[in-house]
Amino acid sequence: MFPVREAQTLAPDVVRLVVEAPRVARYQHPGQFVIVRVREGGERIPLTIAGADAEAGTITLIIQAVGLTTRLLCTLQPGQAILDVTGPLGAPSEVGYEGRVAVVAGGVGSAIAYPRAAALARAGNELVTILGARTADLLTLEDELASVSASLRVVTDDGSRGRRGLVTDVLADDVEAAAAGIAPLDLVLTAGPVPMMGAVADVTRPHGIPTVASLNPLMVDGTGMCGGCRVQVAGATAFACVDGPEFDAHQVDFALLHRRNQAYRDQERAAAEAAQAAAEAAQAEAEADDGCAATQPQPRPTLREAR
C-alpha cells in the first residue's frame, strides 16, 4: 500500500496527491511515470511523476478525473492509500542546454510538462511557456510553470482567462518571430490532448524546430510486455512505455494515436456507470462468484486408509 500524505484540489476535477513511494522517489527522473492501481480488481493506469522528494520518499501526482480510476484517485484523502504504485517507468527525458524553449501544455498536460520544464530551467534554458485550457477553471500548475519560465502566456478556448483561442495560435506567433530572426526557438516541448500535440507538431514542422511530445497511449503493464501502447514513430512501431513516453513530435502518427486511445471509450463509460451502480449495491454482491468449484484436488483417503 502507498499512503497518501497530502491531497489538494487544484481545479475542478483536478487533484494533486503526495504519495509515499520510496522506490519511485529515489530512482525517478523527469519525464518518467508510474502505473497505479487503486483497488483490488482495479485497472492499471499510467500517471506522470509530477515531482519527487527522495528524502521524504514521496512523489507528487496530478490527476484529472476523466475515467473510473482517475475519479477514484481524486477522492483519496490523507490517511488513505493507493493499492499499487509501480515505477519509475519510461525513459527519462534528455535534459540539456538547448537555449530558448517553448513549453506548450494543454489541460492537465501541464502536469506532464512541468517536471521536464523545471529540469530544463535548472539546466539554464530560457523557457517561454504557453499554457492552455478549455476555460479558466481548468488551468493547472500556472504558478509552478510561471516560477520556472521567463514568460508564461495563458490561452483559453472561451477567453475566460488570458488570450482567447488555442495554444497553437500563440505558438504560431513565436515560430514566426523565430523565422524572422527576432527571437530564436531552439526546442518545443508539448504535452496535453493528442489533437493539440498534433497541431503543435504541424506548426513547428515546416520550420524544422525540434519538437518533443510526451505521449499518453493506453497501457496495461507499462514494462514493454503487452504492446498495447504501441505508436508509430517515423514509420516504425515504438512502445511508449519503454521507448518513450517522449518522442520526436514531427515523426509521430497522432491521428493513429488518437484513434487507438478511443478504443475503449464506450467500455470506459460503461465501467464508470457500472461502478457507480455497484457501489450502491450490497457489498456481498461485490464478491463475484466465477461459478467454478474451487480447484480442489480429488478426494483421497486419509493416511490411514491410504496405507
Binding site: G41, T223, G228, Q262, Q267, A288
Partner: protein, 480 residues
Amino acid sequence: MSSTSPSGRTRKERMALPRVEPREHDATERAASFCEVDLGLDWEGAQLEADRCLQCVRPRCIEGCPVGIRIDAFLGKVAEGDIDGAAQIIFDDSSLPAVCGRVCPQESQCEATCVLAKKDKPIAIGQLERYVADAARAHAPPAQRVTPDPDGGSAAIVGSGPAGLACAADLAQAGHEVTVYEALHDLGGVLAYGIPQFRLPRDVLRAEINRLAELGVRFETNAPIGQAEGVDDLLAEHDAVFLGVGAGVPRFLNVPGEDLVGVSSANEFLTRVNLMEAHRPDADTPLPQVAGRRVLVFGGGNTAIDAVRTALRLGAAEATICYRRSEEQMPARVEEIRHAREEGAQFALLTNPVELLDDGTGALAGARLQRMELVEPDDGGRARPKPIPGSEHEVPADLAVVAVGNEPNPLLRRAAPDLERTSRGTIAVDEETGATSKPRVYAGGDIVTGGATVILAMGAGRRAAASMDREIRAAKSGAA
C-alpha cells in the same frame, strides 16, 4: 527389481493395465467457462496409473525431465498409497509441481522417454505429479521456514516467473536469504499474466508461491528493476543476482493495418483477461467486446491456442487460428490443440496474413490472407512455408490477436548495460552454470533462450541456483 507391486499385481498384469486418462470438463460446458478443463485423476485412478510403472533400473523418464524429478521414486510411493512420501520427493525436486503437472509438455519430455511409450502409452507422469501436488497442498501443514545458513549469503532474483521462482526456491532451501523483485503488482510472471485460468487456476499458482514465502523467500512487487534500481544497485546489497525477466516485448506481423483498433498482441489480450480479469463484471480493466464477434488469432504456439480458447470462453461467434504451416508443425502442445478443437476453435492452416483491413473508421474489418505451401525445411529443420501465388483472399474479422513470439525487453539494457548479449538480443550465459559475462550475475529462462517453456525456464533457474549457491559459499569461505 521386484516382480510384484504393492498392489500384488504381477509385472505382466501391470503391463496389461490401460493408461488411466484424466476426467475432463465437458467440451460444450467448459467452452463458456474459465473453470479448469483437465479435472485430473482421482485417488483410485492415480494409484492404478502409478502401478503401471515398471520401476526401471535406469529410469529414462528422469532424463526427460528438465529438473530431474525422481519420477520412479514418487510413482512407487503413490503405488504404495503413500501420498506424503510421494509429495516429499516431488517437493524436494521441484518448487512448482502443481504448476508443472499442468503446463509442462510431458509428451515431449518425461513421458516421451518412458519405456512404456514404445509399446503402448507412457505413464501419465504429469497427471500423477499434479495429483500428488494438489493432494499435498490440501492436506499438508505449511512448509517449514528454512533456518538461514550462517555460511549462506543473500540473493536477488529479478522476475517472479518460472525461472525466478525455481531459482528462489532452491536458494532458500539451501539457507540463503532470497528476495524476489517483480515489476507487476502480482506474482508469477507468465504464469499469472499469460497462462489462462482454465489451464492453471489462480489458487493453484498462489498456493505454490505461498509455499515459497513460507520457506522464507521475500517477495517485492511493484519493483521494476532496470527502471528503479539497476543490477549494480542489487549487487551492492546482495551476493548474487539472477535475472529471470522473461521474453519481453511482443513481436508483430509487420503487415499494414496492424495498429487498427481491435488488433492486439496475445500478451495484451491475455494479460487483460488473466492478470486483470477484465472479463469479470467487477473488474475495472476494459476489454474489447468479444461476445458475438469474429476473432482471428495469428500464430501456432501455446500462446495462440490460449488466446483462441480464451476468445471462445468470452463468447466469440467464431475464433480461428491462422497459422502459416500445417498442424504437424504447430509448436503448441497436441493436447491443447485437441482441447481447442473440441471447444469449437477453427483452424486456417497454411494461411498467412498480408494485410489487416480497415473498416473506414480505423477499426479492424477483416484480414487479407494468402495460402501457403510447405517446401524444403529451413535451418531449424521445420518445413518452410511459401506463399501460393494468386491465393489471396479476404476474411471478415472484428478482433485480431497476434501471437507470433516476443523479443528481448529493452528494459534489460537499462538494468545492466554492460551484460554481454547474443546477436538476437538475449543474454549470453554459460549453459552449465547460467553465469553471465558480469561477475555474480546469472540469468535464465526466456531472456536467455527466447520464447520457450515453463519447465525449461525452471530448469535454467535451478541450474543457476546451484552455481549461485557454490559461488556465494566460495566467496564467503574465501573471505573468512
